[in-house]
């Protein structure tokens, strides 16, 4: 099992190197936006990976409330942290691209705002995990995860309506319409690579979580026996 994981890590690193080469050297330079468009190969795959992580987090939270096993909770904790990391990358790379192309760092358009709210919800989830005590953390976190997941489509709906009533953002922002085949090629390589990086990080974080649980349980058992050192 451990060898398999190491093999997967090596594979992921190779894939990441190849996809980076594809994105930076092979894919043609965009005509109007220029080199800055290449950030798209990192921005969109990060968003996708964050989405996958949050979906995994929801499934693991439901599974925890149903089965009450620590493994599900470990998956939930790992996926939320990795998801927030990728979501942060999305929120940082977005403005870097928007500044030269749109002329502004940020606009309160539906997709941007929804991503920001998503990020806020899962950061609050991580804060709750950190601040809740002992054996209650898992249930409380799982409950909040379900609230967060249910909230996301409502957020998107409401913000889209909010924005369609007001002037639309500086540019339509239809970045995906009619991509060059070479670009699409590079894009899919990066999508695959980022998904694999997400999986690697989740597995590592999951193991760490399980180890932490074990350490805590050992400490608790030692304290019960009065053998504190």
């Amino acid at each position: 099992m451990k060898n398999l994981f190491i093999a997967f890590v090596v594979f992921t690193l190779a894939l990441l190197a190849f996809s980076t080469y594809q994105a930076l050297f092979v894919a043609p330079t965009e005509q109007t936006m220029g080199e800055v468009q290449r950030i798209f190969y990192y921005h969109v795959p990060s968003a996708w990976t964050a989405g996958v992580c949050f979906f995994v987090n929801f499934l693991a939270s439901v599974a925890y409330l149903w089965k009450r096993n620590l493994a599900s909770d470990g998956v939930a904790a790992a996926s939320a942290e990795v998801g927030v990391t990728f979501c942060t990358i999305v929120l940082i790379t977005g403005p870097i691209w928007a500044r030269p192309v749109w002329g502004i760092w940020w606009t309160w358009d539906a997709r941007l705002t929804t991503t920001l709210v998503l990020w806020l919800i899962y950061v609050s989830y991580l804060v709750l995990r950190r601040f809740s005590a002992g054996g209650q953390t898992q249930v409380l976190a799982a409950a909040l995860a379900i609230f967060g997941f249910v909230d996301v489509p409502i957020v998107y709906m409401s913000i889209r309506w909010f924005r369609t009533q007001h002037p639309s953002p500086v540019m339509g922002g239809g970045e995906n319409s009619g991509l060059d085949p070479a670009m699409l090629h590079a894009f899919f390589w990066n999508l695959a690579a980022f998904t694999c990086v997400g999986i690697v990080l989740m597995v590592v974080r999951y193991r760490l979580q399980m180890l932490e649980e074990k350490v805590e349980a050992t400490h608790a058992a030692a304290a019960l026996q009065g053998g504190s050192r």
């Binding site: 409330l65 709210v117 806020l120 919800i121 950061v123 609050s124 989830y125 804060v127 709750l128 601040f131 809740s132 005590a133 054996g135 209650q136 249930v139 409380l140 799982a142 409950a143 909040l144 379900i146 609230f147 967060g148 249910v150 909230d151 409502i154 957020v155 709906m157 409401s158 913000i159 309506w161 909010f162 009533q165």
Partner: protein
């Protein structure tokens, strides 16, 4: 005992305690009053401007004030292990939740009714659209805040630094509800747009999250 019976008993107990102490309503009222005064200094609006920003001001003030009351919801049940006693009793958990949510709803609605004239006086508000729609928005919006707030108060009561925890988890989830309340209120006050979509949106939000709360409350109450 049936769900309705337990709900009624708990609700009446909470209302009676509040009637005698007036803890929640007094602290909420004073807090909301402070927010109104501070906003007035911060933005110094004219009558025309204030109609545009009033939707935001009113709801931010009520949201902050509601947190004050919500934080006290479960605190009194911790004393003398009332919550533990409730957990071992055969009473349905959702009855307790509903009683607390309805109680908070009642407190916040009373607060809004008392504060509304003050907003009118301080910000020189006159509604261009129909006033009854404001009442619908207020009732739906208050339930949206209070149902999630009561649930999250039950979550945060079990954490360290519980007072600060509630807004941290309540505000992100409440963003769509707040957006709907503010935009509906502004639409009605300025009479420039129809608030229908936002009212429907609030109704959907209320139904969805009331269902989620009722579904999950038992797990949270019994969390060990």
């Amino acid at each position: 005992m049936t769900t309705i019976g337990v709900t009624r008993t708990t609700l009446l107990k909470d209302l009676r305690m509040e009637w005698r102490s007036k803890d929640a309503i007094n602290s909420m009222l004073f807090f909301a009053l402070l927010v109104v005064v501070i906003f007035s200094f911060a933005f110094n609006p004219t009558a025309e401007e204030s109609r545009r920003i009033a939707g935001g001001l009113i709801w931010v003030a009520f949201l902050f004030a509601a947190v004050v009351a919500l934080n006290q919801t479960w605190a009194r049940e911790l004393r003398n292990q009332v919550l533990d006693a409730y957990r071992v009793s055969p009473a349905p958990p959702n009855a307790l939740f509903l009683a607390k949510a309805i109680g908070n709803f009642f407190f916040v609605v009373v607060l809004e009714a008392l504060m509304a004239p003050l907003f009118v006086v301080f910000y020189d508000l006159r509604s261009v659209g129909p006033v009854w729609q404001l009442i619908v928005v207020a009732l739906l919006g208050t339930w949206a805040l209070v149902v999630n707030g009561t649930f999250f108060a039950a979550l945060s009561i079990r954490t360290r630094s519980r007072e600060i925890m509630l807004p941290l988890i309540l505000f992100p989830i409440s963003i769509p509800a707040l957006l709907a309340m503010v935009d509906a209120t502004t639409s009605i006050l300025t009479g420039e747009a129809s608030p229908d979509f936002w009212i429907k949106m609030l109704a959907v939000y209320d139904v969805v999250f009331t269902a989620v709360c009722l579904l999950l409350f038992e797990s949270v109450l019994n969390a060990e």
